[in-house]
């Protein structure tokens, strides 16, 4: 290669798969190039023509078509096309057309062959289709975080210590001390083999036995925790962490079927995650007033940035942030009840939106509501609940969870109602769907009881799961709303040349990326009658019903993960640079790697929206 061609070489070295190519190999590529200019609208490759070049877009944009004439992909600066023809039978499989005035570098078939034989990275890159490329990019990333690659069984260091649940308090304490464990499993020995019945922890002994001055002869079954939260032995450590965060438990029995393999504790996980977000959560419960909560709320962003830097995935980060937000709320409710006295009637405090979905990030407002017991009498009780709601809402605002601009908060009387009114609300939304009203109530379809009678929230979830799946009009209306926000696909192509492009210097990764995705996942989940709230969990539930193909599900999961992680990284970078984090990304701030995979991800969103339109459009027409 002539040294004076360095400009051309430098350009290619920025982009996959040339970025990791050996210097001498890249020199060979540059020296073999033929440069050609194509005017916008010109055919570059005809179907079935001999294909003897790999095409590299130096500037401009190219559209790739399927044989059927359907648009398959758009290719922009730094990307390649024509590889399939070269790999298959040297006939063009995907015709290509210049979308803009385009300068391409043609790499001859012989050079392609040479690269393919001598550079594994190159060979992998050209052989893999876009979407699988997205997947391998994600898995490469996740490989670097041990929490995501190690199974929970790795944390089990000893046989589980258990006792029959008939033992007395003192005996239980003695067994724990002798064995040096902070949790004791309690089993029911009645049947053929012992069955896990409950658990008792150091903390339980302190809070339930000592502080209540229980007699040492008290049967342990009176104070043990039943309805155990457990984890299956084939899951990853990060899933154990999510489970602990979500349920605010510090010990998890690891199960093989109904057999206990061992118990893992919070402290086992913390070893893997230095400066854990789990620490922050337990710290929240130690705060005695709003001032203390406000003080440690400053650590939330640090914890977020740390997780990003440790290559946690979006599910972990979203759950951790939601867990933290939930803990702040729960602690504020406890403090509020201490101040105002116990609630006059049972109630459930409900998280809505991203917190309920376990998909919270650092830029978030508070969305919450209260479900009151049906014995609620407004004149007698509402003063208390308003005061409590206000206490929590103000506290959250002080801790950085700004007030909801749509006034979806328990302080709003409309969202502080007895269970039967809530049931009416949901029934009305589902059975008499109106697009406008549903737009505003969308957020209520992500709900989670986080304090008090969480059973109330479960009743609402059951009602939704039951009614939504059979109301096609409701689903169609939700689908129509979900299609309002489209991915910025084509953005990378049109960004430079778009006529009104001057005003469009950024795009919003939430509004145009994660939100449309979680919207459409919610609709499919509702159609399946799933009660799951988290988008990844919903995808699993959808998978069980075969409503979507496994491939499509996988693509949706990857797309959600990738867009989320780019959004998360964008916010972490802003925090580290002392800027206020937001969701608006300038394409030039993204790496070529991110740009190229984001495009794949947006294409997935686009296709998924098409499917949603196809699935519900006809039904709208039939019912209206």
């Amino acid at each position: 290669m002539q040294a004076e061609l360095i400009d051309i070489r430098n350009h290619m070295a920025q982009y996959q798969p040339f970025d990791e190519m050996a210097d001498d190999l890249l020199d060979t590529v540059v020296a073999s190039i033929e440069v050609v200019y194509f005017k916008a609208g010109t055919q570059i490759l005809e179907f079935g023509a001999a294909s003897s070049f790999l095409f590299y877009v130096r500037s401009g944009a190219v559209e790739i078509y399927r044989r059927s004439g359907e648009l398959y992909n758009r290719i922009g600066e730094g990307e390649v096309f024509g590889q399939f023809g070269l790999l298959m039978n040297r006939k063009v499989r995907f015709p290509a057309k210049a979308l803009e005035d385009t300068l391409v570098y043609k790499i001859p078939g012989e050079t392609f062959q040479h690269l393919w034989e001598n550079d594994d990275n190159f060979a992998d890159f050209v052989e893999i289709e876009d979407r699988s490329r997205l997947r391998s990019a994600l898995s490469r990333r996740e490989k670097s975080n041990e929490l995501m690659t190690s199974k929970v069984t790795r944390l089990i260091s000893r046989e589980p210590i258990s006792a029959p649940c008939t033992v007395r308090l003192q005996e239980a304490a003695r067994i724990m001390t002798e064995n040096g464990v902070s949790a004791l499993l309690l089993t029911d020995e009645e049947g053929q083999k012992p069955l896990l019945k409950g658990i008792i922890t150091d903390r339980d002994l302190r809070t339930r036995a000592l502080s209540e001055a229980l007699a040492s002869e008290t049967p342990i079954s009176e104070i043990m925790s039943e309805d155990l939260i457990t984890i299956r032995s084939n899951l990853f450590i990060f899933e154990a962490m999510l489970t602990m965060l979500h349920n605010n438990v510090h010990h998890l029995p690891v199960m093989d079927g109904d057999e206990v393999r061992g118990v893992i504790a919070l402290s086992d996980i913390v070893k893997y995650e230095s400066q854990s977000s789990l620490y922050l959560v337990s710290n929240i419960y130690h705060q005695q007033d709003k001032k203390g909560l406000k003080r440690i709320s400053r650590d939330v962003r640090d914890s977020f940035v740390r997780m990003v830097n440790e290559d946690a995935n979006s599910h972990m980060i979203g759950s951790a942030m939601a867990g933290i937000g939930r803990s702040f709320t729960q602690r504020l409710l406890e403090l509020g009840e201490e101040k105002l006295g116990p609630a006059p009637v049972p109630y459930c405090f409900m998280a809505l939106g991203s917190m309920a979905r376990d998909e919270q990030l650092v830029v978030t407002d508070q969305d919450n509501a209260m479900i009151l017991d049906d014995s609620f009498v407004p004149e007698k009780h509402d003063e208390y609940f308003l005061a409590l709601a206000k206490f929590v809402s103000d506290g959250l605002a002080e801790c950085g969870y700004t007030y909801c601009t749509g006034d979806i908060m328990a302080t709003n009387q409309k969202w502080r109602q007895p269970l039967r009114v809530w049931k009416d609300y949901f029934t009305d939304w589902i059975e008499n769907p109106k697009a406008e009203a549903l737009l505003n109530s969308n957020i209520f379809f992500d709900l989670d009881g986080i304090h008090g009678e969480t059973e109330f929230a479960e009743q609402l979830k059951a009602l939704v799961a039951d009614k939504a799946s059979t109301s096609q009009r409701f689903l169609a209306m939700m689908a129509r709303n979900a299609l309002n926000r489209t991915p910025p696909i084509g953005f990378f192509r049109t960004f430079v040349l778009e006529e009104d492009g001057k005003h469009q210097k950024t795009f919003n990764l939430k509004r145009r990326g994660t939100a449309p995705l979680s919207d459409l996942i919610r609709i499919h989940a509702l159609a399946c009658g799933s009660r799951a709230q988290n988008s990844f969990e919903r995808l699993k539930a959808i998978g069980n019903t075969k409503l979507l193909l496994d491939d499509d599900l996988g693509n949706l999961r990857d797309a959600l993960e990738f867009i989320s992680i780019v959004r998360i990284r964008h916010q972490a970078l802003a925090i580290e640079a002392n800027r206020e984090p937001d969701n608006n990304v300038r394409p030039e701030d993204l790496s070529p790697f991110e740009r190229s995979h984001l495009k794949d991800a947006f294409q997935v969103v686009n296709n998924a929206q098409k499917f949603l339109r196809f699935r519900y459009n006809t039904q709208v027409a039939r019912n209206v």
Partner: protein, 242 residues
Amino acid sequence: MSDASSDDSHVHSLPWPEQYQALARESKSPILKAFYESGCPSPDTPVSDVRLLAIDFETTGLDANQHSIVSIGLVPFTLDGILLTEARHWVVRPKLPLHQTSVTIHGITHSDIDKAPDLEKILEELFSYLNGHIPVVHYRNIERSFLDVALRWRLGEGIRFPVLDTMAIEAFLHPDRQPSRWQRLMGKKPVSIRLADSRLRYGLPHYAAHNALIDAIATAELLQAQILHHFSRDTRIADLWL
């Protein structure tokens, strides 16, 4: 370009292919004889069938009689492709001292120059590319006149050939590129026909580096774009060359 003596004026008014034949007969220099014998396409040849050679000189100044060539970049091409395999770049030793300001412009240092051969040493190789190709330049008054003068010094004989000039094409496309005083008052800017500015109008990328080779490539790309936008693949070469 060479001053036409009275003997030459008849030859010089011939169409290019016939002129090449006549010059091939007259020429004493084997290099130039071979160049003219390699021929010139007929004026009616569609531009898409013509073998072109983008060529760019970096010089110590603008006057061929006072200044010298410092580097030469060239790349053969057609409308279907610019062949980087055959791209070449030479630094040659100028006859005149290298002016300090030029040094920074070209990115060529005194030690490069000291190691560089005289143009004469690379003539044979240079002509192996020129033969059978129509040169393409951006601003013909540099390349054609500098080569003509340089060959007079070294071969005792000048050179004549048609060129495609991408700057002349831009000048032709933008006859009113200087805004009137009134338009200027209204904020209208003159249209620049410099290489980098012309390229922008066709969506061609910006090249950070400046050397004779990348400029030759940039010129070749510009000609492809100009022809596809304003002419056609079938445009007669005679309508384009000067």
